[in-house]
Amino acid sequence: MRNRMSRVTLTRRKALAVTGGTALVAVLSPARAATDRTIRIAYPAAVATLDPAKFRVGGLEYNYAHCVFNRLTAQDNKLQVVPELATSWEATEDLKVWTFHLRDGVKFHNGKPFTSADVLFTYSRLKDKEVASVLRAALGVVDKIEAIDPLTVRFTLSSPYSDLAAVTAQYQAQILTESAMDTLTTKPVGTGPFRFVEYRPGDQLVVEKNPDYFIPGSPKVDGAIMRIIPEYTTAVAALESGAIDIVYDLPPEQLDILKDSKVSRIEEVASGSWLGVIFNNAFKPFDDPRVREAFTKIIDRQAFTDIAMFGHGSPTVTPIPPAHPFFRADLLAPPDIPGAKKLLAEAGFANGMAIDMYFPNGSPVNERLATAFRDAAKQVGITVSLRMAQEDKFDSEMEGKIAFSVDGFFGRPTPDTMLYAWYHSTGSWNNTLWHYNNPEVDKILDTARATGDKDEQKRLYSRFQEIVAKDGPGCLCFVRNFACGVSKKVQGFVGSPQMWVDINNVTLAA
């Protein structure tokens, strides 16, 4: 009696569940397709903060910011600086005084008109030690910011700097208004194409179209729901079933799954995010340039790209990516095992060596790159022991304090921002990561940032790549592709090398 009863309960439960589920699919799906022009995008990680000045995680943070805010300048998909809230700008001959002319008639989402006072407020906040923005270092050259009139701002620099208009295009430099600071971390207010609706931590961030946006006809969708889905398998299933329109930044392991899909496609673009093998020059044996060169000669960049990224990347020599006009493709040398052996013998390692190689966990790409190096190194008698470290511990305690590791960084917008911090002897990254000191490189980087002449810059950065290809502090292997899974309903999607999803010009087909 009891048994039968429980069996009935079980079936009734299941029946209810199944009816509920199918009813949902039947009732909601057609209605949604016909009326809803809200685009739904999946991101793997939540935002840490809604305050742009404090961004450092990337992903959803940057993408939300580009919806809600604007910067003075922006960069297009070819990394050219283009106007945003500033319509034009000019620098004096010595590159020390920059004047930005602001767009007229722009309003914040709370109705307040946008003026030079907002620019002053935003930048003084970015330079504030208390705010601890990551952009503060790049703004170190800025001595003074003044408002000439409500629509003109002047930056005075302590030394000539040719890339200021690219710094004002950085993610953190979103223009805020002092009138809405109390709700910055709960309901941020900007001038951007979308208005902030709500953020449910760990769940979703919702924005709606800003009907008063200063570019008429943009955006074309009514709004966006940015969902946080940590498992890629789940996100891809949602894309395949039509619950999601775009999956952001798919790892190479997931790309094959979507290759034969009927409802979605992969949009892939080369990014500036690089990965490489890091030699800490402050430690033995990497204080010896011959060892660094020998280790570099072992590496088959194309093979490493195929192994670590399943081919979804491009070999590179320095952080200047292959797509950049200054890139020196001729420096991509094939591996040279006899040459590596010779150099190692000269450095006193004729019988090989044993060395520990560290890498942060959580990224299969890092793991595969480290394994590829371990196997390649066997050819010259080097025994590599792989040591995986907890990611947060690696970043905060190990980086710079270990001799040998695998690591990678996001791309930066211009050659100066890509290189200076990593290769100049005073660079912030150089001094935490690999302690490289080459006076000629210092001179090149200093000269290049102080000239506005593109040809001169090209000559200097070309020479820089030559030097670093031979005597570098590490061996960069490749830049990775930025890939998104995109539903076939989405039209007008263009992948950005800066790894953001531009939804201003995207439309949704029924």
């Binding site: 009696m1 009891r2 309960t9 589920g21 931590p201 760990g202 079933s241 947060d392 905060s396």
Partner: protein, 318 residues
Amino acid sequence: MASYALRRLGTVLVILAVMSLLVFLATHALPASTAAMILGQYSTPETLAALEHKLGLDLPLWLQYWNWLRAMLHGDMGQSLVMERPVAPMLWDAFGRSAILALCAMAIVATVGVAMGVVAGVWRGRWPDHAVSIFAYLGIAVPEFYWGLVLILVFCSTFHLLPSSGIGNLSDGVGSYVSYLILPVITLTLTLLAHVSRLTRSSMAEQLDSMYVKVARARGLPEHVVIVRHALPNAMVPTITVLAQDFGFLIGGIVAIETVFAYPGLGRLLIFALQRQDLPLMQAAILTLTAVFCLANLGADLLYGIANPRIRHGGAVE
């Protein structure tokens, strides 16, 4: 009974007090410092010290603990260091959503699991018993996140029957809301069903072999009366304890399930806090989970006391 309940409640309070200290110390012993996490790649000793001072992380540890405990006792969970918004509303929202998952799963486990155990116990060695055994071994042997992914691939990718992730909106109707719960709840249930059904089966089998059941049968009572009136209530006593223990298991499972199904509950919030070293959020979330676990155990103790008078009178168990 009242004094027994009070004694148990006292124990729970002591445990919670000790746990608060442990949680506080453990979160402070984590390798990376909060300030270093917030500043990340760009931290310098100077900015690090300034931020630690601002966050109060440079105070002596005992003072930090006292400040934190006092605030917690006043119901003030503080401000998330990373998100810069109050912890309490976020935590309660997430807690409510996780509680729905947990309660649905518990309800299914308590009914279906017990029923499965009874079936297997009554038809010992015959096919219903084997079927339950195979199901139980599959449930125990395979981790729940794996079942989650399998269910997503079958029900979402292939057949498009159910949503793969997220949480439904009650304003879209109850059917829609429930459809989002089905897969996570089933996944959560699988392991626990196995646990509870195995245990109920063996205690049921034990009771059915006991003297009083034989006597009942000898008196000519119908078999269903023997099972439901006599054997089952006694077989349920160990099951109640295991259900409470499973509640702890469930909390662990929820962290994995919420990640697989992108369900915005307490588990996800906790992972976020751990990844970003958000101390106030982390401490509040862990302490909440601890409290839930303690209260579930308290509930089990009380139920057990009701079911088995020897316990509440301090008599020896076993």
